[in-house]
Amino acid sequence: MKSKKKNTGLIFFPAFDWAISATHPEREERLLYTQDQVFEEGLLDLENILEFKPGIASYDDINRAHICVPDASSLATKSHLISAGGAITAARKVMTGVVDNAFALVRPPGHHAMLVAHGARGFCNINIEAVMVEYIRKNFGVTKIAIVDTDCHHGDGTQDIYWNDPDVLCISLHQDGRTLYPGTGFTEDFGGPNALGATINIPLPPKTSDEGFLHVLDHVILPVLDEFQPELIINSAGQDNHYSDPITDMCFSAQGYARLNEKLSPQIAVLEGGYSIERALPYVNVGIILAMAGLDYSHVLEPDYDPDRIRQSPAISRFIENESREIIKLWKSRKSMKDRIVGSAGYVRRSKNIFYDTDGILEKQTETVRVCADCGGLVMIESAADTGKKIFAVILPNRCCPECRKNGEIFFERANPGQYNHIYWQDREKDEFTVK
């Protein structure tokens, strides 16, 4: 055993009475066999694994990370408040030094929920990592945070929330968007004009196995983290890269997941997707818990585990090696990139259509960012959904500069209530949220 024992907090909340619908992958049964395995292994009896009851997040906690349309109480049900609360509990236990690291093994998940949320997309209503990150920034004065999204689907919600934030590094590794929901997360998506390089996407070809994941970990993620120097690393821990997952097409194993967590060594892990509830989750979760606790995970093997059968092809290995080099090249050029991309523009605008697959909503959104050398920049969003709701939001970043603040105040003041259902003011620096 190489690593040292750590005190690991476990916030286990399987929400055994909550489902999106009766036969949905995100249903009551999802963590049942994980619970069985965790209990049967006696993990909660180990002196360095401590279980905590999740707290319940407040609407104020949600409003720090999201613009919920029409409001947080319409989007966040009790189950979402508990799963976000579970993530917050994990953070609190780590930040107050009760444990060295913590795993929020909670559901429902959240990484597809974007900054503006009109409903549920990709099984997510509320981005529980983002709610947690904002909670940490407000209560513990942490500035630089890295989120490594190891779910098989692109962490598009988390990316969206931190697109313009140079202090939150979002790295997502996922199955290539051309072959899987949500169809985004390409290497050229690299962050907003004031936060270039704070978003990094690592799309991986279908059938990538342990070697491929560990290659990008060693050759992209760890070197980037080393340079970014975050105060806190969060693993947005989806488990659907597993070779047995029914809705994805990757070849990652429990051993691979455990090794990844051991090397990444996140202070906080938050469960995201993963729908192979019998063949993968019990083993992957036990593997992650043991790896975080610095315990021997070498015996955590799926009953049908056969590394030769799932090993990626040499072509995939070559592709990943090449891609890793390209991403690092991009990362190294991030500082010189701004002039080239932004030029002399004062504001940068991007428009997008967002489809809420879970709730069947289509949203058209325009995001305008003030180009700023001193902070993440003032962000304004105009959004209209086919629910008939049209909104405008002014968002001030954490560590906002006076110029962006002054401009934001003027835009909010001038926004015409006759034109929108709601006009939102979200000040991440002063922790203010108002609606007019």
Partner: protein, 556 residues
Amino acid sequence: MILGIDVGGTHTDAVLVENFHVRKKAKVRTDNADIMASLLAAARKIVSKQNIGNIRRIVLSTTISTNAIVQGKTDRVGMILLCGPGLSPRHLTPGKDLFFAEGYTNHRGITVQPVNEKEISSIGEYFQRENIKQVGIVGKFSTRNPEQEMNVAKILTVEQRNFSLGHRLSGQLNFPRRAATAYLNAAVYDIYQGFVREVQKFLKELHMDVPVYILKADGGTILIEKSVSCPALTIHSGPAASIMGVLATADIQEDAVALDIGGTTTDISVFADGVPLLEATGVTIGERKTLIRGLYTKSIGIGGDSAIRIVEGNISVGPDRDGPAASLGGRVPTPTDAIIVLGMSSLGDTQKSFDAIGSIAAQLNNDIASTARIILDKTIAVISENVRRLIEEVNNKPVYTIHELLEGKKIEPRILYVVGGPAEALAPGIANLLGYAYKIPEHSEVANALGAALARTTAELTVLADTEKGELIISEEGFTKKIPHNFSSAKTIEAGKEALRLRAVKMGANINDLEMEVTDFQEFNMIREFYTTGKNIRARIQIKPGLIAPVPLRNQ
């Protein structure tokens, strides 16, 4: 009449109870080298030729197994573990004759790897060579399918070899604890069986033909002849006797806290609606965490004999004991001495208490009475703070459904029951700090024996219906049966209750005492490829710990 005897670490108490009234009581010192002698000595003090014919039932609470473990007088145990994948087996250390063998079952009870007959046979040869007679067999997820444990036992069956199978001792998941439980069961098997034989021989000599019960750690009783195969369940019954004693001496119906203030420690226990709380998974014996069902109790290092010292100019109480109270010849002042100084007791040589407290007072430049008051207040504060924290801990136990998290029952005690030597002096203060009312029950000096005498038979079962597999399983009974795909949760519980009723009656329960309760219930639709393929239904059903019903008692 019922004869109840509790063999405690220090004293052995005996009571004769008739219609819930204590008719006779006695207390003798326990001889830990000869438990049987202590038992008989206590019995002889209250049983006479005149009343022996009226005794209808005998209940014993004994430390025989616990002592064997503490004194290292247990048997050598051959352990066979079918580990499967998961936590490294290095974490498992039940005994030295330990074998990790092939074969395992998954969480659904599906056999993934079969048992290797040749391997098991060669382990059997080792047991034979080493003359190991006690064998523990535990498989991962064996509570979901006991077949492999039973297979291994079958392969190893020879005369004079006893098997402790994991799935029989508890239906709960927790492989390391199951292994520890089976190990302990096997380790005390022989010594316990010897004890049972002695008890039976003695009763035969007296021509007494009445049922004899043994108190288990969960505060319930079991017929002595039925306890032979599961002696582990009787380990650690001491705290159970004490808690049942409080229940027997006080009519508890509500959320409550009970304190047993002894010399060295104070034991805290909690009641929810008058029912004592059980350990969530099982009791801990020494360093071993087990699945032995036991009443929840927390022992804190403060009591009547706690040593009083001055630490950095302040008075400190405990957590250690350095001999008895000064009034009884001890070397250091204790809370008991403070109680004597304050005129609330006159135990032993009271002048010695004044001298001992006086020396503390002199060092602090204070008068004796206020120093005694400070000591008492400090003792009271420590105990009440521990009670407060314990209740908070109980209420913070993790839950796994939204419903439970938002609406789950909170324990909100309003009353404190206090037994033990310093009860009278400390109870008002502790209750005051906690904002509770308090009561000091009668007969508390023999509460343990009384608790044993009046405890009912308890039992627990875990039922699992997997309609996709078409199978229902009750681990503790080693019972499996085929079920149709439309088998319902109501039918699962019905099947469980029927099995529990039979089990409890076999263990010696009176049919008036079968107060059943579903303590845990979960039902899941099993979805595969977006279609419902079955239901996974889990239920844990128990007969609550409590007192025997008064009606049949009157008939005795």
